[in-house]
Structure formats: structure tokens, C-alpha cells
Amino acid sequence: AQSVAQPEDQVNVAEGNPLTVKCTYSVSGNPYLFWYVQYPNRGLQFLLKYITGDNLVKGSYGFEAEFNKSQTSFHLKKPSALVSDSALYFCAVRRDKIIFGKGTRLHILP
């Protein structure tokens, strides 16, 4: 069975510092992995995806994510956080069905 875990309910980072939002998954076969961001009273917005190829994928707003097959992880990263990055972030895995994690609230402190 497919599953995805976001172990942190909330991550607090000072503005200008690097940020990491963690995601691990369980799926049979090769996964398709996605990150989405949700701002208040808005739908989810696509950030980036891993399908195949280079383990480091780059996406919108300066975000990137690293696919690690041995650790079954797909952590979201950004070198320098902005206050405007404060939002709810969802990791999703897709293999037959799409499964979303429960979300991690990212709070960037000015």
C-alpha cells in the first residue's frame, strides 16, 4: 500500500536561513513525487515534481527537492527563507493513486 509521511506538523525558520521540510514515502515500484503549497483560503499550488532522472529537482519560488531512493525521502529545501514562504506544504506520492501527506506548516520568522 502507498503511504506518505510528513513527520513535522510545523517548522519554524528565521528569515534568510535555509529551510527543510521533510517527506518520506512508501510505494511499490518507482514513485512519482510532488510538492504543493497552500496559502490561506487558496487551493494548492504545484511547486515541483520528481518523475525520473536527476535526484535534485528545482521548482517554483526558489524551492528544490532531493529524491533519495535508499531513504525513501523527498525533502523540500530552500537556501534562504523568505517571510512570504510561510504557508502549508504538502508532499504527495503517486503510483496508481495519489496520496497526500497531512501537511507541514512552515513559519518564517522575520
Binding site: N41, R42, G43, F90, D96, K97, G103
Partner: protein, 115 residues
């Protein structure tokens, strides 16, 4: 930039009443999804359409929920009768292809409160 439209944005209804949500996907997107997002959780897929056909409705509570996409464009999700536990955000999303590698574009959602 093209967006997925949903209406209404907010809906308050009493339990046992019927309620309906509407979604208009991005023009040309053949694949349409309905999700339910309970507060503090990620979206849960209810139903997926490819054009006018249902591809996956395994998580749709069919005793009270129904969904249709008659002409393969816009879609309606209905709940009858509504129950207190149905209070949630209902999200619609579309994708240009049914291929699992394609990302989805989400609408702003309809927040349902059942009293």
C-alpha cells in the same frame, strides 16, 4: 493565467439537506479530480474523471455522494443528505493528461459547514 473555478466558496447547510458544488477546470484539461480536505489533513481523493467517464471513485461514499461531468467539461459534486462529518473543504483540480506524472491545478475550494 488560466485557473480552476469553483462555486460557491462557502456553504452552510443543515444536516439532512442536499448540497451541490460546481467546478470548471482549466480549458482543455481532460482530467478532473474532486478532493475532500478535513482540517489538519491532506486532501483525500473522492473521484477522478477522464473526460465524462469516471476513472476512480473508490473513495466516494456512494450512499450519499454523487459526481457527474456530463459533457466532459465542468463538474458537479452532490451530497444528499449532508451529515455533520461532511464539514470540510472540497477541492477541485484538473490536469492536462491522465498520466500520473502530470501535476494538478487546484481551484480555491468550497468550505462546507454542516450544522
Amino acid at each position: 493565467e488560466a485557473e480552476v473555478a469553483q462555486s460557491p466558496r462557502y456553504k452552510i447547510t443543515e444536516k439532512s439537506q442536499a448540497v451541490a458544488f460546481w467546478c470548471d477546470p482549466i480549458s482543455g484539461h481532460a482530467t478532473l479530480y474532486w478532493y475532500r480536505q478535513i482540517l489538519g489533513q491532506g486532501p483525500e481523493l473522492l473521484v477522478q474523471f477522464q473526460d465524462e467517464s469516471v476513472v476512480d471513485d473508490s473513495q466516494l461514499p456512494k450512499d450519499r455522494f454523487s459526481a457527474e461531468r456530463l459533457k466532459g467539461v465542468d463538474s458537479t459534486l452532490k451530497i444528499q443528505p449532508a451529515e455533520l462529518g461532511d464539514s470540510a473543504m472540497y477541492l477541485c483540480a484538473s490536469s492536462s493528461r491522465v498520466d500520473q506524472a502530470y501535476e494538478q491545478y487546484f481551484g480555491p475550494g468550497t468550505r462546507l459547514t454542516v450544522t
